[in-house]
């Protein structure tokens, strides 16, 4: 009886997991791709997020918005991947001054190349504080409104405004350094 019950429980759990996966995996994968810019990384993020779910890691009751919850999980896992790539490839970066892996005078042909700047923004974002990076990605990559982000993160809209303003400024400093107009 126990074996049969166990099998039924497993089947039921799998059906639930499949329903959650079917409803939400697309948005997790797409958000991860936007943050990482890489299909393999996005797939790794998708797997990471849903394996945690399958293992029932965590345990606190969920908020009333499972979609945005998984969205956040995707962005944070994606930022983790970009961060670990950065850590592998470069020496630790100064936390205060904008520092880029490739200085403008080393890459004159890359000046103001939109695709290159896009990649620099992704990398620069991963060097900011995790909270700032998450908020910026939610606002500008994913298109959430400031009010919604404040609600998702349990903070005030004015806090979100301040963090977004600072993060924009920091990213502009990074772009300026990259295109050789900074400092």
């Amino acid at each position: 009886v126990h074996n049969a019950a166990s099998q039924a429980q497993t089947t039921s759990a799998t059906a639930e997991l499949e329903q959650i996966y079917r409803e939400h995996h697309g948005r997790v994968l797409r958000a991860a791709y936007r943050v990482t810019g890489n299909a393999q990384d996005a797939e790794d993020v998708l797997q990471t997020v849903f394996l945690r779910l399958a293992r029932r890691e965590g345990g606190s009751p969920l908020s009333d918005s499972p979609g945005s919850y998984l969205h956040r999980a995707a962005i944070n896992a994606a930022l983790d991947i970009v961060r670990s790539r950065q850590a592998q490839r470069s020496t630790p970066l100064d936390d205060v001054a904008p520092v880029l892996a490739v200085a403008a005078d080393e890459a004159p042909d890359k000046r103001q190349d939109a695709g290159e700047i896009r990649e620099q923004v992704r990398k620069a974002l991963s060097r900011l504080s995790p909270k700032s990076a998450e908020i910026f990605a939610l606002r500008y990559f994913e298109g959430f409104g400031n009010h919604e982000i404040a609600r998702m993160l349990g903070t005030s809209r004015s806090t979100i405004n301040v963090i977004l303003h600072r993060t924009r400024q920091r990213l502009k400093d990074e772009i300026a350094a990259y295109v050789g107009e900074g400092q």
């Binding site: 039921s12 299909a39 502009k172």
Partner: protein, 130 residues
Amino acid sequence: MNRKEFDLDQLLDRAVAEIHDDAMAPEAERAAGDRVWETVRREGERAASAQPRQQQIQSCDDFQSLIPAYLQGALSDARKLLFEDHVNECLPCRRELKAARLARRPAVAAGSSAGSGLLSRWGLRAAAAR
């Protein structure tokens, strides 16, 4: 705003707009989704079978937890017989089954609210709050 600031704002806005529009090819998305589901499904089954307290049917709550699988036709034959025997004898469980049947169509149509309930049970605060 001076010209440099204006240019930098434009460069940043253009870069984030491109990132916002960045997408995998639909067929690549589908393939990735299928591959990952296989891994996730196996892990989910392993995790579910590794939780001993959920393996035993000891109470009406346990029987009622089987209702979704029963309605999906996902129970084994033996389990289905046991379930039906119990439901025939137990009024509260019979009521739960009836309510679940009635709720099934609207719940499927409602989509996100059904997902919310499921996700609550799965509990994944740690998954997002990292």
